[in-house]
Every structure is written in structure tokens, then in C-alpha cells.
Symmetry: C2
Subunit: 464 residues, 2 copies
């Protein structure tokens, strides 16, 4: 071997080593990254850790039950045990509503699919001949599978019963093709149904009785926090808009300003949660037929509000050469509208969270309406704007007009919330004293019905 060859070998070895080193480092980085992500997930929502332990527990429970069950000993691999374990794995979801929905769908669909399959099998047996039987069965199977698959496209069926329809097809095909004699078919259908019931029951018991997560509560909190995000934006916008003295927004304020963005695309997840919530029994403050649809309506109006706020956001950092005088003159009413509207939204959010219906909301709404009227009349006061350059004022006019629109959506939302409060029987309370402490501004408020102030102190304790 020459020196050159040795050197070439060395070079090869070195580059291979470097490549390997890089790969290991990359892998290590990925593992560390995933681990830190996983840790963050747990810190964000510790219920995720609890859920994982619950799933592990339920699977172990049902598995060991069948492991020790003597009647499957001779078979080695009990078909029944399999179905029960499978059911737990497939049915167990994060929220009670989702788990209940899947379990009920699975149970009923297995029963229906199994019964129909037994019927189809009997009909096929009537044909008598051994050659005709599989043909008849095949025709049944094809037509049932095709028709039911087609029905899965129906939006109403898809929203709540999609899993059930799938399991119907599954059970029908499994049972109808499976056996030869009537007795066997019946036994199979029966075993499948009973093991699925055991699996579902295990999953449900663990899901409901160990730190349950209720989809309805999730929806409730989500809509309330959406309203709060919108309110926070408007409050910060009210304080920051046209405020030339401001530096970079501080951490809390920046998060207040960007929070609303998640509301823009919240439609899908809200609908999913409402669908799950419909399965849930009475829990905590929520009845069985809690008006979940009304939550979706409030959420929809919140989204409409968010679209306007998204448009407003474009003007937050709008640098324009407006004279100080105009700024000052238009700043006050715009900020007032934004802040008042933010108050209403935050008040609605708090009311939803505590499931109360404080009469102070009406006061805030009246204040907001008044502020919006002030802004409108300011814009309509022709005399005061004569000397202004038109182009300078367009952004401000747009902001004002978007704010007025936001107010009208907020009023719609308050009406929708009113309906929700009636349907869901929120406690009507007078949280006036509380509001006074919280905002520290009740003396400045213009519309304060006398009777509210009088009865305020009787109810305060009941609220908090």
C-alpha cells in the first residue's frame, strides 16, 4: 500500500466519521427538540399527562382481565379479548363527549350491523345450494357497503354518526362473511357485541370517573376566552392607537394584540366541540340539553367581530403625517369607543365564565352606544373639519368606521348572549359593586339605573 493510498483511506475515513458525527448530532438535536416540545405540551395543559395515564390504565385493565380469564386459555389468542382491547384503544378520547359519542356509536352500530348480517346470512342459506350462497352473500355485501358508504356523505350523518356508520359496515361485513352455520354466526355476533360493550364500558368508566375532561366545558371556556381576547385587543387598541409617545409594545400588550388571531379560524374546532358536548350527560353547571347551538351562534358573531378587528389591526402601526391637533381631537372619541367596547366584551367573557348575568353589562353597553354616537356626531360636525387636508384623515375615518361596525357587532353579540343566558339559565345578578372595584371608573359612567346601585350589595357575595 502506497502512502497516497493510505492518505486517501484516511481522508475517506475522516469524511465518513465527520458525516456520521453530523448525523448523530442532528439526531440528538431532534430527540432533544422533541423532548422539550413534549415537556412544553405537558406544562401547557397537565390534563394531557393525566389523559395518557388514563389510557394506559384502561388498556392494561381490560388486557389483564382477559389475560387471566380461564376460558380463553386453550385458544391461546382469544378473539374476544382482542375486540375488547381494540375497543378501548379506539374509543378512548380526550373528552368525555368524544368518548361517549364513539362508544355509543360503536355499540349501536355493532348491534344493528350484526343483526342485519345474521338476517342476510339466513336469507343466503335459503338459496340452499353451496355455490349460490357466496354469490347471494356477495351481492348483499356489495350493495349494503356501497349504499351505506354513500350515506356517509350526508352532512348531518357525518357530523355525529360517521364513526357509527363505519362500524356498521365493518360489523356487517365481518359477521356476514365469517361463518357457515346459523348457530356460529349468531355466536360470533353475540361475542363481538358483548366484548365491545365490555371494552366501551371500561373506557367510559375510566374516562368519566378519573379527572374527566368535558367537551362542553372546553367549548364554554373557549368561547369565553375568545370574547376576552377580542376585548383585550380593543382595550389595548384604545390605549395605544395614535399614541405617539409609545415605544415597542411590551410583552403582555403584544400578546393582547395578537390573541384575537386565533379567533379568525375557530369555526371548525368550535363545531367539533359542540358535537362532542351534545353527547355528554349533566355535569357541573351544565345540563344534558345545554344550549350548545347558542354557544356556536355567539362564537359566530365573535368571529365577525374578529374580522373587523383584523382590519383595525392594520391601522395600529399606521404611520401618517397627521398634525398633532387632529390626532388629539379624534384620538379621544376613538379611544373611548374602543375601550368601552373592550369593556363590554370582557364583561361578557367574565359573565360567561362565571355563568352569571350581571346587570352591569347593560350599563357598559349603553356607555359604548353613547361613545359610538359621540364619535359619529364628531365626524358629522362639518364645521370642525373645514381646514383639514382630506387625505390625512382617511385612515382615521376608516378606523372610526370600523370601530362603529365593531360596536354594532358587539351589540348583536350581547343580544345573542342574552338569549344564551336565558336558555342556559344563567344566574341574573347585580355585579355592580364588583364592576366598580374592577374598573374603578363607575363614577364616570353616564347611564346608571338607580335600582341597580341600591340592590348591589345584597348580591355581591352570591356571585364570587
Amino acid at each position: 500500500m502506497t502512502v497516497e493510498n493510505q492518505e486517501a483511506d484516511c481522508g475517506c475515513f475522516l469524511s465518513a466519521w465527520l458525516w456520521f458525527n453530523k448525523l448523530v448530532k442532528k439526531l440528538m438535536f431532534k430527540v432533544v427538540d422533541t423532548a422539550s416540545n413534549a415537556k412544553k405540551l405537558g406544562q401547557e395543559d397537565p390534563r394531557r399527562i393525566v389523559h395518557s395515564l388514563k389510557v394506559g390504565f384502561a388498556i392494561t385493565l381490560v388486557s389483564l382481565f382477559y389475560y387471566f380469564e380461564p376460558k380463553f386459555d386453550y385458544e391461546g389468542f382469544g378473539v374476544s379479548a382482542m375486540w375488547a382491547v381494540l375497543t378501548v384503544v379506539v374509543v378512548f378520547e380526550f373528552s368525555v363527549g368524544a368518548t361517549l359519542g364513539r362508544a355509543i356509536n360503536r355499540g349501536i352500530a355493532t348491534f344493528l350491523g350484526g343483526s342485519l348480517a345474521v338476517g342476510a346470512h339466513r336469507l343466503a342459506c335459503f338459496s340452499g345450494s353451496k355455490t349460490l350462497e357466496p354469490i347471494v352473500l356477495g351481492i348483499f355485501l356489495f350493495s349494503i357497503a356501497a349504499i351505506v358508504t354513500y350515506l356517509r356523505f350526508l352532512p348531518k350523518l357525518k357530523a355525529r354518526y360517521d364513526y357509527g356508520v363505519l362500524i356498521f359496515i365493518l360489523t356487517f361485513s365481518l359477521v356476514s362473511v365469517s361463518g357457515y352455520h346459523d348457530k356460529e354466526v349468531l355466536e360470533i355476533a353475540h361475542t363481538r357485541l358483548s366484548t365491545i360493550l365490555i371494552g366501551s364500558a371500561t373506557a367510559l368508566v375510566v374516562c368519566i370517573f378519573i379527572y374527566p375532561v368535558w367537551a362542553g366545558e372546553e367549548l364554554h371556556i373557549k368561547i369565553s376566552s375568545n370574547l376576552e381576547k377580542l376585548g383585550s385587543f380593543l382595550e389595548v387598541f384604545g390605549a395605544e392607537y395614535l399614541n405617539t409617545a409609545r415605544g415597542a409594545a411590551s410583552g403582555q400588550k403584544a400578546s393582547d394584540l395578537h390573541g384575537y388571531k386565533s379567533v379568525l379560524n375557530s369555526k371548525g374546532s368550535e363545531e367539533v366541540l359542540a358535537n362532542f358536548a351534545k353527547w355528554e350527560p349533566r355535569h357541573g353547571k351544565f345540563r344534558y340539553r345545554h344550549p350548545w347551538a347558542q354557544y356556536l351562534e355567539v362564537g359566530g358573531i365573535a368571529r365577525d367581530c374578529a374580522y373587523r378587528i383584523h382590519a383595525l389591526n392594520g391601522y395600529l402601526n399606521y404611520e401618517t403625517q397627521i398634525e398633532q391637533e387632529i390626532r388629539t381631537r379624534i384620538q379621544e372619541p376613538c379611544m373611548k369607543v374602543s375601550t368601552e367596547c373592550g369593556h363590554v366584551l370582557k364583561e361578557l367573557a367574565l359573565a360567561m365564565k362565571t355563568m352569571t348575568y350581571p346587570l352591569t353589562i347593560k350599563v357598559h353597553i349603553e356607555n359604548t352606544k353613547l361613545a359610538a354616537e359621540n364619535l359619529k356626531s364628531l365626524l358629522q360636525a362639518n364645521s370642525s373639519w373645514e381646514e383639514i387636508i382630506f387625505s390625512e384623515i382617511i385612515p382615521i375615518a376608516t378606523v372610526a368606521s370600523l370601530l362603529i361596525e365593531t360596536v354594532s357587532y358587539t351589540i348583536n353579540m350581547a343580544e345573542s348572549f342574552d338569549q344564551l343566558a336565558t336558555l342556559a339559565r344563567f344566574k341574573k345578578t347585580n355585579r355592580f359593586a364588583l364592576a366598580r372595584i374592577r374598573t374603578g371608573s363607575w363614577k364616570r359612567k353616564r347611564v346608571v339605573p338607580e335600582q341597580n346601585t341600591e340592590s348591589a350589595h345584597h348580591h355581591v357575595i352570591a356571585v364570587e
Copy 2:
């Protein structure tokens, strides 16, 4: 029996009959309603009917294959047959990408879960004692199930591999708990894997080779049609806005005006389609690594545009007491901007649909920019607005400013589309002659690079 009793009986019978009659009518109505809905679903998209027939065919195929398979005769109910049928039912989805994703997830997860379970089983056997074995197995099962369930919360894993992770847990629990002797466990793992492969293969072959539905193509068409909807709105808005002579919008126009609303909430479905599309092999004009992420970016900007259009829509029926003179003066430039912007969006939509990159788009963009500049300078021409009442002009100013924003988003979108065209290797063509025929307005266009007109006729045939 007295006459009164008879009459009472008659009354009872009558009301029962009426109630029954009502129930039957209600049921009939529901059945007819569902049937007409189902019919509509098929008319809207005949691929749904084809899909249902495909599913029926695949299930029947794999069932009958196992029905005739002699080796399962003595068992009556072949476990293997079951897994294969189950796999077809569970894996078969509407689009090729979804089916492929599930099949690959299921196959790999079964292999990994099965292997790990065999390993865990061997380890448990090492313990030697019969009492210790289930305890060791139980600990394994609990920890693996809990850890892997926790990992399902990782967003990256959830987006593409959620089903695989579920099947991993499933297979691991099934195989590890199932048997007693090493040989049996290996056999079970092997059988499960092979039947799942047969089931997946059947589903895939039927899904891909009989009228396939490609998720990538769906996404492509969806984004392109979203752009077209936005373009249609702007074109109609340009024609209708402040048009006092208009009556109620005609059918076609009304649908043009409301089409954009579906764009507002399109984020979720676009992301799902992009995830499916990533699984798909080369098909038609789409390569394996087609830039699907770039489609999502274009879709995102389209949504931003749609938010502005949603705000504009509020002003379409805005009744205001503006003098005819102002209307006429501001109408022209606003309509011009809206129409030109609509042209650009429709041109982009057409370019995406045909996967070409016509140079005429640049002409339209220049025209739009010019129109927007015109509008801006009109608003900034202070002299011409002196005698106008400020309040009257605010809605118009808002519309103008929203239109200018829409233009800037459209320009962003054109840039993003430009990147997409480069990444996806769209054919660069000169569709000028085509555009001339389509819009019939090229003579009025202001920015027409000379070289385009020269080479126009060479490429026309290549495009269509």
C-alpha cells in the same frame, strides 16, 4: 256497553289513529327529505357515487377471497380474514392521498408495534415465573400505552402520523397480551401484518386504478376556485357599487357576491388536503414533491384578501344620501380598482387551473397598481373636495381604503403565486392573444410591453 263508552272508545281510537297517521307522515317526509338530499349529493359530485361503488367492490373482493380460502374452513371464522376485511373498511378513504396515508401508517405501525410486542414478550418470559410474567407485561403495556398516547399530542406527529400511532398502541397491546409461547406470539404478529398488507393492497389498488380522486388535485382546484370567487366578487362589486340604477341583484350576480364567504373558513380543509397530498405519488401534472406548502401560502393570502372583501361587502348595500355629483366623481376610480383587481385574481385563478404562467398577469397587475394610484391621488387632491360634507364621504373613503388594501394583498398573492409557478414549474407562456379575446379590452390597457405583443402568436396554440 253504553253509547257514551262507545263514543269514548271511538274518540280514543280516532286520536290514536290521527297520532299514528301524523307519525307515518312525519317519517315519510323524513325519508323523502333524506332521499332527495342523498340524490343532490350525487348530482353535486358524481365521484361520491363512484367512491361508494369502489368501497363496496373492495370489501366484497377481499371478503370473498377469504371466504373461498380453504385453510380457514375448519376454523369457521378466520382471524386473518377478519383483519383483512377490517383493514379495507378502515383504510379506504375518498382520496388516494388519504387512503395511502392510512395504509402506510397502518402497515408500518403494525410492523413496529408487533416487533416491540414480541420483544416485550421475550423479556417478560425471562422472568421465568408464571406469576411475575403478567405483572411485567402489564407494566410494559401501561408505560408504552401512556407514553405513546402522550406523544399523540405533538402537533407534527398528529398532523401526519396520528393514525399510525394509534395502530401502534393497538398492535402492541393485542400482540403482547395475546399468547403464551414465543412461537405463537411470532405467528400472531406475522399473521396480523400479512393480512393487513393484503387488505391495504386491495384498498389501494381499487382506490388508485378505478377513477382515482387525488387530494393534491382537489387542493389545486380548491385554491384556484377560491381565487376565482374573490375575483368574481370584486368584478361584480366594481360594476354594482354605488350603481343607483340597479335593481335586485340577479341570480348569477348574487352567487358571485356570496361565493367569497366559503373562503373565510377554508383554513382547516386546505391543511387537511395538503397533508393528504403529501402522500401521493406522481399523477397527472403533479410531481411527487409538488410544492403543496406554497399552495397553503397562496391560500392564506387569499384568506387575508377575503377578510377585506368581507368588510367591503358591508358597504355594497350601504344606502347613503350622497349627492349624485360625488357619486359620479368617486364611482369611476373605485369601480376601476375593483374591476382591475378582480381581473388579476381571475387571471391568477385561470393560470393556476391551467398550470401556466401567462405574462399577461403582469400587465393586469400594472393596471391595478395604476388604478389604485389614481384612486389615491384623487383622494389626496384636496382642492376637489373642499365643498363636500365630510360625514357623507366617510363610507366612500372606507371603501376606497379597503380597496387599496385589497390591492396590496393581491400583489402579495401574485408574488407568492410567482414562487409557486417557479417551484411547480408552471409553463411560462404568453397568453396575451387569449386574454385579448377573453376580455376584449387589450386596446384600453396602458402598460403593454412591446415584446409580448410580438411573440404572442407563436405560443397561443401551445397554451390551449
